[in-house]
């Protein structure tokens, strides 16, 4: 197992290198240039631009730029934003990543809290009114864009009822409640759509397991319904569910951009969008590198979880 994880981590490094290189090339392949974006209406002459270009190393040939970038990244230096006070990219990321992780983590919990009971009951009481009703709400949840749900939540709970703040973020170091109350609405907005997906997955996976003979065996042992479901059925139904949850979590990392915007949370998504609009190469490269690292790690965690869930799966 340790060997397997080590091998996978090594593979992860290769993937991240490929991502970094691809992003590096693609950023420079698209039209537009950071200095043009920066000095668009400042009236700076070509000389100023040339000076700045030399200052940021943007006049070097691409392979030199790439070499410098690569050497710095290996040393943990992601460069600095080419804007304003030249904030280091690592600092931008350490500021925005906790916000995105908080939002993704809470949305994930919201999704599970809704999905597990909903999916289990739908499977056990298949074709009941509950099941049909839940199917309806699942599709409703999936059909409503999360940012729109977010706006509705703001209107009801922030603007009208004034129970919760509409926008903003407080770090966890300011206390749990300030942190939590800012994240309740955005996590519900993001979490409900995922809960629909996960619940449907739990339902179909459970239906598969409930048909198995070992469920009849368990029943004939004289087990009661809660133990049947929680000990014999649900753990066996988890494999596809964990797969979907892994993908969902990774997608939340970069996918909550619009919701982050609605709630004015300056998370990784917002950093990324702004970076792309400004042609801020170092910021975009750094942010994408972090997102890809999270993707790769989440996948690794999911694969390791398989072995924990199902004793038939063993890694070399």
């Amino acid at each position: 197992m340790t060997r397997y994880i080590a091998k996978r981590l090594l593979g992860a490094l290769v993937v991240m290198w490929a991502v970094a290189t691809l992003v590096f090339i693609m950023l420079r392949a698209v039209p537009g240039d950071p200095l043009e974006a920066m000095l668009f209406d400042s009236g700076a002459g070509p000389e100023t631009i040339a000076v700045l270009r030399a200052k940021y190393g943007l006049d070097d040939p691409l392979y030199i730029q790439y070499g410098k970038y690569f050497v710095n990244v290996v040393q943990g230096d992601l460069g600095s934003s080419i804007y304003g006070s030249r904030v280091p990219v690592t600092q931008i990321i350490t500021e925005s990543l906790p916000r995105t992780l908080s939002l993704a983590g809470l949305s994930f919990i919201v999704a599970l809290v809704i999905a597990i009971p909903a999916g289990l009951i739908s499977a056990i009481k298949r074709h009941s009114w509950y099941d049909h009703g839940f199917t309806f709400f699942a599709f409703l949840g999936l059909s409503m864009p999360d940012f729109w749900v977010g706006i509705l939540l703001i209107i009801v709970f922030a603007a009208n009822l004034q129970w919760l703040p509409a926008i903003g973020y407080q770090p966890l170091s300011e206390g749990f409640w300030p942190w939590f109350k800012h994240l309740i609405l955005p996590s519900i907005a993001v979490g409900t759509a995922f809960s629909a997906i996960v619940a449907r997955m739990i339902r179909s996976s459970m239906l598969e397991v409930l048909k198995m003979d070992y469920m009849n065996v368990a029943r004939s042992k004289g087990l009661l319904e809660p133990r049947l479901v929680m000990v014999h059925a649900f753990p066996n139904a988890l494999i596809p569910v964990v797969t979907v949850m892994g993908i969902a979590f990774a997608l939340l990392m970069a996918g909550a951009v619009v919701v982050e915007n609605v709630f004015a949370i300056k998370g990784l998504g917002r950093v990324l969008i702004q970076g792309i609009l400004n042609r801020d190469y170092p910021v975009v490269q750094g942010a994408i590198l972090v997102v890809s690292a999270i993707f790769v790690l989440t996948n690794l965690v999911v694969d390791v979880l398989y072995a924990v869930i199902d004793p038939r799966i063993r890694f070399e």
Partner: protein, 339 residues
């Protein structure tokens, strides 16, 4: 072949008495406003009893309702109508307490040893869980000892207790299933196609094991199967089913040597004889047509469309069970008329 050794120990009072058992599955159409458009009559009025220590074979082709009967007896599904009396108590109306006791006394061995063991549980958990649940043994070391004993009774080395099902062969898995069924010292075991999924060589071993256990623990079996030679070897009496109905029931030897119902005769004739000379000479009664849909079974005797002996009354009314010889029950007006 005939080694039904404990025939003498069969008691007179039935351990299990099934009366007019019916299990109909509604077929519905529509999403929100469902309406019933028909019923699959999986089991349609079947009666039989099993004496203590006896093994009753239940045979018939796929879909004739034999497994459904087994599941109703095991309380894995509720019958639509009829009664199932186990040791003097009606199983269909058990309360929670009674249900618990019933689960201890009635166990099952299922067909597929691959799907009938929970893949996430080790052998000692599978075999030990019933003991633990029913409060027989809550002490870890003692439970492990009990499990090891049970495995050994079933011919498995005790070291297997720490294995997962996927680490064992089909025969070993089925032995685990049997050890599990025996854990609570039941009186009655439903063997639902218990050997059908195994290789022939393993089948023989498992059948011998079932026989030994029957003699050792005084077990009563309902043996559901479609392999006629296995059924003849293991069972004292045999019931033959067709499309949810019982067509014939008698001693195993009587059913196999002098069957009366045309369906039983056709079923037995379909079994090839290993001697080519005899195989060539013996009469072959090949059934025409297919088994009709249980959703829309034929009127009268359900077998009449395929029966070469059918008379007018077969098409008109459901044949009653008659007893041409003591202990030999058959549902066929033609046979009844001859007797």
């Amino acid at each position: 072949m005939q080694t039904r050794s404990n025939e003498s120990s069969i008691g007179a009072a039935p351990l299990l008495d099934v009366r007019d058992l019916k299990k109909h599955f509604p077929v519905t159409r529509g999403f929100l406003l469902q309406r019933e458009i028909g019923r699959v009559k999986a089991v349609d009025g079947v009666s039989f009893h099993i004496a203590r220590g006896e093994t009753l074979g239940l045979v018939g082709e796929s879909g004739c309702g034999k497994t459904t009967i087994g599941r109703c007896i095991l309380k894995l599904m509720d019958p639509t109508d009829g009664s199932i009396v186990f040791d003097g108590e009606d199983v269909t109306s058990l309360d929670r307490q009674g249900m618990r006791a019933f689960r201890r006394r009635v166990q099952a061995i299922f067909q597929d040893p691959y799907s009938s063991l929970n893949p996430r549980m080790k052998v000692h958990e599978i075999v030990g869980e019933p003991l633990w649940i029913h409060g027989e043994e809550r002490n870890g070391a003692a439970l492990a000892r009990r499990v090891a004993e049970l495995l050994e009774v079933c011919g498995l080395p005790r070291q297997l207790a720490d294995r997962y099902p996927h680490e064992m062969s089909g025969g070993q898995r089925q032995r685990v299933g049997i050890a599990r069924a025996l854990a609570l010292k039941p009186d009655f075991i439903v063997c639902d196609e218990a050997v059908s999924a195994l290789d022939v060589s393993i089948q023989a071993q498992i059948i011998n094991l079932l026989e030994d256990l029957r003699d050792e623990f005084g077990l009563t079996y309902l043996f559901i199967g479609h392999d006629l030679s296995v059924v003849r070897h293991l069972c004292h009496r045999v019931a033959v089913m067709y499309l949810g109905r019982l067509v014939e029931l008698a001693d195993a030897d009587t059913v196999f040597d002098s069957p009366l119902h045309p369906y039983t005769r056709a079923l037995l004739a379909a079994v090839p004889v290993p001697d080519p000379a005899i195989e060539k000479r013996r009469p072959h009664e090949v059934l025409a047509g297919e088994v009709p849909s249980p959703m829309n079974p034929p009127r009268g005797c359900v077998f009449h469309p395929r029966c070469s002996h059918a008379i007018d009354s077969c098409r008109a009314e459901t044949p009653a069970l008659t007893e041409p010889h003591p202990g030999h029950v058959v549902a066929c007006p033609v046979v009844a008329a001859k007797a």
